[in-house]
């Protein structure tokens, strides 16, 4: 058990290191001649107006919230799916009820217009 996670840990370190080292080596090899115009924010040749972090649609947040509900739902469903073969019809009905309640949430968000892209 712990050995598996040791391998994962080593693998993650290697996976982070390979691109970082490549980027650093390329940085040493490549030329470096910055100037203000080259380093300005790219907006198809038009001069930038205002900050680079503008206001954006609130809709993205709503989708994020709906996503959160379903993501948490699946976290609860994974243990059920693993133990599924050892459970009876009753557990399947329970899971169906659980999913139905959350599907109710989806229908609510749908009718409220949260899923409409304005």
């Amino acid at each position: 058990m712990l050995e598996q996670w040791m391998y994962i840990g080593i693998f993650m370190v290697v996976a982070m290191m390979l691109p970082s080292i490549a980027i650093i080596i390329a940085g040493l090899l490549s030329p470096r001649r910055p100037n203000p115009i080259k380093n300005s924010t790219y907006e198809c040749g038009i001069e930038t107006v205002g900050p680079g972090w503008p206001q954006f649609r609130v809709q993205y947040y709503i989708f994020g919230l709906v996503f959160l509900i379903f993501d948490v739902e699946t976290v609860f469903l994974f243990p059920w799916a693993v133990a599924y073969n050892r459970l009876g019809l009753f557990a399947a009905v329970e899971a169906a009820l659980f999913i139905a309640i959350l599907a109710g949430g989806l229908i609510y968000a749908w009718k409220k217009g949260a899923l409409r892209w304005l």
Binding site: I10, A26, L29, P34, F63, G64, D71, N85, L87, W110
Partner: protein, 407 residues
């Protein structure tokens, strides 16, 4: 002979023997062999991308009636190497006002999160990084890391297009994660394990035959997760220039490129593992290298499908894309999960244990839900208002419509 049957285990045993022979304690030997294994697997995944880039350019070229790369080496095979050398020596143009930590972390995170999936994929009976008993959850968790990379890139770049592209990418990835996770629950349910190796072993009948609709939804959601056409909105060059990677240059951009290709192939690996039975095939258990070949063939078929879809279909609009996920795929996936669980348990309760009797019922269930989904899709299409561009007669590009005739 042992070496030919199972080279990886053979070499690993030799390595452990050699390290133990040096007089190192057991823990150090294990750590070193793990490190070498991880380094080889990670490097081979990165090197494999070079071949993928060549293959995709060649294939897309053929689809579009071009030759594709054909100058360097046989069939242009050395073209990606030349590109790699070129991109290695390119200057990093770091725009003023970037947030340095997210800006520099994003490309690394994008690649490493995809590479991490390779650690848990069983390539053959004995060829795998690690048999993690929560493999599926690990894959999903690392997939979330890729989304973090994209939002970091969009936020750190100090650019409006990058920010918009980042949010767009995030909205898409979040939306399609839901149907993907729910359809992944069905193989987990059928196999009764979260380990990818266990899932392959459980597939006496490939899960694509048991739950074809789940496989289809998973495939579509996977296309969206890897931002392939018709879901390539985050990189819609005609709308938001290049999206979240607009301010990146040199190898930092290169790694976003690598991550995209690697992600496409990794999703094919995942599909082949979860739905097509991974390395399963005749004689695969006795001769692991044969299982590796089966797995490679299955993965190539899935990857070829992804590429052909990528080459042939036009792009979605963002509202169509979100509607498709939230109003069709998610309810359909939920209905499929509930229906399969209930019907399966009811049948087992009645004493029907054999998979061959349950299989036709599952197929009928999938077909029925597919028909329902197709009906609702068609109804939505018929109900949607069709925008009229203009009512009057429009000029057509005919010779008589030009005032100036060529002489």
């Amino acid at each position: 002979m042992d070496f030919l049957k199972d080279p990886v285990t053979f070499l690993a045993n030799q390595l452990v023997l050699w390290l133990t022979g040096l007089g190192l304690p057991e823990g150090v030997v294990r750590f070193l062999s793990f490190s070498i294994g991880a380094a080889i697997l990670a490097t081979s995944s990165l090197l494999f991308v070079i071949f993928l880039i060549w293959f995709e350019r060649k294939l897309i070229g053929r689809v579009q009636d071009r030759l594709g790369p054909n100058r360097l080496g046989p069939f242009g095979l050395f073209q990606p190497f030349a590109d790699m050398l070129k991109i290695f020596t390119k200057e990093y143009v770091t725009p003023s006002g970037v947030d340095p930590v997210p800006y520099n972390l994003a490309p690394v995170l994008a690649v490493s999160s995809v590479m991490a999936i390779w650690a848990v994929i069983p390539f053959a009976n004995t060829i795998y990084g690690v048999d993690l008993d929560v493999g599926v959850v690990f894959v999903l968790a690392v997939g979330g890391l890729a989304q973090l990379g994209i939002i970091l890139a969009g936020w750190g770049s100090n650019n409006k297009y990058a920010l918009l592209g980042g949010f767009r990418a995030l909205a898409q990835l979040l939306s399609y994660e839901i149907p993907m996770v729910i359809t992944l629950l069905i193989p987990v349910m059928l196999a009764g394990t979260l380990s990818l190796t266990g899932m392959v072993t459980a597939q006496d009948v490939p899960f694509v035959a048991v739950a074809p609709l789940a496989a289809l939804i998973f495939f579509i959601a996977n296309l969206a997760e890897v931002s392939r056409a018709p879901f390539d909105l985050p990189e819609a060059d005609s709308e938001i220039v290049a999206g979240f990677n607009i301010e990146y240059s040199g190898l930092k951009f290169g790694f976003f490129y690598v991550a995209e290709f690697l992600h496409g192939f990794t999703s094919a690996l995942l599909f082949a593992t979860v739905f097509l039975g991974g390395w399963r095939g005749p004689l695969a258990e006795e001769i692991p290298i044969l299982g590796f070949i089966y797995f490679a063939i299955k993965t190539s078929l899935v990857y070829l499908t992804i590429l052909l879809v990528d080459a042939t279909v036009p792009r979605f609009r963002i509202d169509q894309l979100l509607n498709f996920s939230w109003k069709l795929l998610t309810p359909l996936a939920l209905a499929l999960l509930v229906a399969m669980a209930l019907v399966d348990r009811a049948m087992v309760g009645m004493g029907v244990e054999s998979i061959w009797i349950r299989l036709p019922v599952f197929l009928a269930l999938n077909a029925g839900l597919f028909a329902a989904g197709a009906y609702f899709l068609d109804r939505a299409r018929r109900r949607a208002p069709r925008p009229v561009v203009s009512g009057g007669p429009r000029p057509v590009a005919r010779p008589e419509n030009f005032t100036m005739q060529p002489k």
